[in-house]
């Protein structure tokens, strides 16, 4: 952590209200928010989508779009009100006093200029001559830990990886030594291992330069690891503002508690705990407000809450906007959402009948971009999946975790038949599964269904919910058109959606509701196997929990197999019975969910676990970082594919020889040259929370 912020305020936001013009009205996005960032302080702003956090960040930068209106408030930087300045004056502020690191590095860099040029351009705003600026640019690139700065400086943005681009943006932001850095989700979209290195970098820079940071994110773990103070925004209002340590250990607002409870922490598993989802939906921007903004979803709501609470200083440096904070602090009121029953199990997932068997499945496809390529026989191959063998039994949830380029999505689409399998075999309920959908009959299709990552694109926009759910009933379920309607209602109920939703269009539903519809659609044909590809990654944190619970319940009720794919090991650890870690198309480790968090780990698993930001500012974590980026699946390294980045690289053998599959006592699998007991010796449990976590062991 940083040496500690000073007590001199750098940025003061006073009672800021920002609204957007929409549909003929002004809709408030940020409502009377006040906060103070001190010099040298890293201030985290946490909220879900629609909370107003991005608007707040942009307001501080004065980067708001034309449709935004600042209705009231002041933003004081070093004492002077930024809102009173005109564009000309702001230009002296931007870059020099306040700098911005945006979310998407690709669209923030000029694609037609070399990196070095862009960086120099930013530096020369101070009037430095070209040569000196160039020197300084190279220095900065080194500062952000980019290997070979001269090469990077000569490259164009599309020639370097996402992680490198983000470093460049950070370099640009700090190039003129601003006093305040505003960062808007700077690591979203990056792989976990890459994210870890960027967070290291950010912490490093902050420490060296003593810059203040306004860090906006929806990711509770990242904020916990980077920030000194954290503020929680909900529906445009600031609900709680406290030092990070206190917020995570003893929050004083039911919403904060709800957030923390709805996110699975490393080590939690469904068998021991059900996530507590926050009930209800966030209010829409146009809804009229009266009373506490969280009232509709709060387990502690009382009559008094009809009067909007003010932001009260509960303790020194800890503000909260709740009437009942004292009760929460003393423990006499429980701010937690009601607990749910744990999902029961019909059969042991280990011994039930097998639903899907994968034997050495291989998926390679050639890159064919031009007509010539299409006709020729020799083309470069993308080796997405290289020999994966898995067995999924009834009632078993298999979690498949990997980063980008790991092949996890390709494997899922190969299982579903959307992509052709080039090697190995797949059996569904014992019968050989044809590799393409076209060859599969309706009965086979009915047995396997998929839930997709991108919830916005899962449905034809012009189809009503009823039609969406009805189609598979008719096509695969064998129902006739007239029989289908009651079944549709039944399916909607199974996913906890009211029957009125049947006539609505997808665009009228929220993200979480849409994913439920997707689940209902998948269930229509009564599948034996569900494949869920990152089903919660695009949903808000508080909604993820309810969808995960739903998947869990359904699997238990219907005793179907589930393949759950994600990049988030915490979510995987929670929902799975068995976890499979995949890297460059090969399974590196397969282990029961209970065991994967303890040694022995595959070195890759170890690195993953150490890269995931803990939702605990005082938690302890091993620091294992991987060098470089994941190699491209077109050119997979020989021998062990992980050898190019492995922190426990042995030597020649890793380069030349395929690592053996080593079986653990519980039937897990680690593919490594290092013998299991050597691993057991050398490795320690990667993470430790500073407080007991319910539901983990």
């Amino acid at each position: 952590m940083t040496p500690g912020p000073s007590h001199i305020p750098l940025l003061e936001v006073e009672s800021l209200t920002v609204a957007y013009a929409g549909a003929g009205r002004l809709l408030d996005a940020v409502r009377e928010v006040s906060l103070i960032i001190h010099e040298g302080e890293t201030y985290g702003l946490v909220g879900e989508s629609g909370s107003g956090k991005t608007t707040l960040a942009l307001s501080v930068m004065r980067y708001l779009p034309r449709s935004a209106v600042i209705r009231q408030g002041r933003i004081l930087l070093g004492g002077s009100d930024l809102l009173a300045l005109d564009a000309k004056a702001m230009r002296t502020i931007w870059g020099q006093q306040i700098a911005f690191v945006p979310q998407d590095p690709y669209s923030s860099l000029n694609p037609s200029m070399r990196i070095g040029e862009q960086l120099s351009e930013a530096i020369r705003a101070d009037g430095i001559d070209r040569r000196a600026a160039r020197e300084r640019a190279l220095d900065l690139l080194a500062d952000v830990h980019l290997p070979d700065p001269p090469l990077i400086a000569e490259s164009y943005p599309h020639q370097i990886s996402g992680g490198m681009r983000q470093r460049v943006l950070i370099a640009m932001a700090v190039s003129r030594e601003p006093k305040l850095l505003v960062m808007d989700e700077p690591t979203t979209g990056l792989d976990t291992t890459t994210q870890a290195t960027i967070l290291d970098l950010i912490r490093d820079l902050i420490r060296k330069r003593r810059t203040s940071v306004l860090y906006v994110s929806h990711n509770l773990g990242v904020v916990a690891q980077v920030c000194d103070r954290v503020a929680v925004l909900y529906a445009g209002e600031l609900l709680e503002d406290a030092p990070a340590v206190r917020l995570y250990a003893r929050p004083l607002h039911p919403y904060t508690q709800g957030l923390l409870d709805s996110v699975p922490r490393l080590g939690q598993n469904k068998r021991r705990i059900s996530l507590r989802a926050v009930a209800g939906r966030p209010p829409s921007p146009g809804d009229t407000r009266s009373g506490c903004v969280f009232m509709a979803r709060c387990p502690l709501a009382i009559e008094l809450c009809k009067e909007a609470p003010a932001l009260i200083q509960a303790d020194k440096g800890h503000d909260t906007r709740c009437h009942r904070w004292k009760e929460i602090e003393s423990g006499s009121a429980d701010p937690r959402q009601p607990a749910r029953a744990k999902a029961g199990r019909v059969q042991s997932p280990v011994t039930g009948p097998e639903v899907l068997a994968l034997l050495d499945v291989e998926v390679h496809y050639p890159i064919r971009r031009s007509l010539a390529d299409m006709v020729s026989r020799r083309a470069r191959q993308v080796r997405a999946v290289n020999g994966v063998s898995l067995s999924i039994r009834r009632g078993l949830a298999l979690g498949l975790v990997g980063e980008s380029g790991s092949g996890k999505t390709t494997l899922a689409t190969a299982i579903m038949g959307l992509v052709e399998r080039t090697g190995g075999e797949m059996r569904l309920l014992g019968k050989l599964l044809p590799s393409r959908i076209a060859r599969r009959d309706a009965a086979t299709l009915a047995r396997m269904q998929m839930i997709f990552q991108d919830v916005d694109e899962s449905f034809v926009p012009t189809m009503s919910i009823a039609e969406i759910v009805r189609r598979p009933l008719i096509r695969l379920g064998g129902s006739r058109a007239d029989e289908a309607s009651p079944k549709v209602i039944g399916l909607l109920e199974a996913v906890h959606l009211p029957p009125e939703y049947a006539d609505r269009l997808p665009v009228q539903l929220s993200g979480g509701e849409r994913q439920r519809v997707a689940i209902a659609r998948a269930l229509a044909s009564k599948p034996d196997l569900l494949v869920a590809d990152e089903p919660v990654s695009s949903l808000d944190v508080s909604v993820q929990a309810s969808v995960l619970n739903l998947l869990n319940d359904i699997q238990a009720e219907r005793d179907s197999g589930l393949i759950f794919i994600s990049h988030d090991l915490a979510v995987i650890g929670y929902i799975s019975d068995v976890v499979a870690v995949i890297y460059l198309g090969r399974l590196m480790q397969v282990a029961p969910a209970d065991e994967v968090f303890d040694p022995p780990y595959h070195p890759y698993t170890e690195a993953l676990l150490s890269a995931i930001p803990l939702i605990d500012p005082k938690g302890l974590q091993e620091r294992i970082r991987l060098e470089g980026d994941t190699p491209s699946p077109v050119e997979i390294p020989s021998g062990c594919p992980f050898h190019t980045r492995c922190p426990r690289f042995l030597g020649e053998v890793c380069v030349t020889v395929d690592p053996p599959e080593q079986r653990t006592a519980s039937g897990g699998l680690i593919r490594c040259h290092i013998p299991l007991d050597a691993l057991q010796e050398a490795q320690r449990r990667v993470f430790h929370f500073s407080f007991p976590v319910e539901g983990s062991d």
């Binding site: 997709f452 694109e457 899962s458 449905f459 926009p461 012009t462 096509r475 269009l505």
Partner: protein, 288 residues
């Protein structure tokens, strides 16, 4: 085509946007006026298509003949009005068929991909490399002169462009989750193309259809001007312009009014197409 409740709302929104901007409001109004003229022309025209007043040849515009008379004593206003029906009907029908055929080919080609797609698209490229007028003339030279031939010409000339436009939308849509979901549900090719993918092409299709309509009008007028595909006393405006060229000094109104009609309706439909394009741009990304 069933219009869902959301669809009806969108249509109303679309009309609002169309009339909000001055340019597209003008374009839409012009188009509507001419469509009305085409539909009700026979009822509104004061005189017949070939009704000749031998004693009233070369009359300048007057209360009896609003647009004057030509060399045979025919009322120019009536002929322009009745000509609207000819031109707009042909252009409309031809465009509609081209849109339907083009959408089908574009859907199929874009979705199927691979060699089939390449072959179809290269074939269409070949057709597109010929200027529309030239292609029309070549086709009409080999077909007998009849109404059907003109429609066939329009379909052949405009299907490739429509197919191209639809195909590009299909390419951006065919890897989306809902298409995959449809495949996983065992939906047939027809359902996937027409129920799942086609709605995504509506905005582009509407804009392209309107544009093709304006080009078709111009093509038909040009063919009429060259005297191909139409026989007198057809009130094809292009034919009227060609015939009246030699009357430029004797009866300029017989030349200018049909020419103005062509210009006005083509501009009007183009402005309408612009308005549609603006509507398409206001749609959320996923529905574009």
């Amino acid at each position: 085509m069933r219009v869902s409740p959301g669809g009806r709302r969108r249509v109303r929104q679309a009309l609002v946007i169309l009339f909000h901007q001055r340019a597209s409001a003008i374009g839409t109004s012009i188009t509507l006026v001419f469509v009305m003229a085409a539909l009700f022309g026979p009822l509104l025209a004061p005189y017949g298509l070939n009704q000749q007043f031998a004693s009233a040849t070369f009359q300048p515009p007057s209360p009896a003949h609003w647009f004057g008379t030509d060399e045979l004593g025919r009322d120019v206003f009536s002929r322009v009005l009745l000509g609207a029906r000819d031109i707009l009907a042909f252009a409309g029908l031809g465009t509609l068929l081209a849109v339907i055929l083009g959408a089908t080919v574009g859907l199929f080609s874009g979705y199927t991909g691979g060699l089939v797609d390449e072959i179809i698209m290269r074939a269409f490229d070949g057709l597109l490399s010929l200027p529309a007028m030239l292609l029309a003339l070549l086709l009409l030279a080999s077909l007998a002169t009849s109404d059907l031939s003109v429609i066939i010409v329009l379909v052949v000339v405009y299907t490739p462009i429509v197919a191209r436009v639809v195909r590009s939308v299909v390419l951006s849509v065919k890897d989306l989750a809902y298409v995959r979901a449809a495949q996983l549900q065992g939906e047939g090719l027809g359902w996937i193309l027409y129920r799942a993918i086609l709605p995504a092409t509506y905005p582009a299709l509407a804009v392209e259809g309107a544009l093709r309509f304006s080009y078709a009008i111009f093509l038909i007028a040009s063919l009429g001007f060259l005297g191909i595909g139409f026989q007198p006393p057809s009130a094809n405006w292009g034919m009227m312009v060609s015939d009246a060229r030699q009357l430029a000094t004797a009866a300029p109104w017989a030349l200018y009014f049909p020419a103005a009609a062509i210009a006005v309706v083509v501009v009007g439909v183009n402005l309408l197409a612009d308005g549609l394009k603006r509507i398409a741009q206001t749609l959320p990304e996923s529905q574009r």
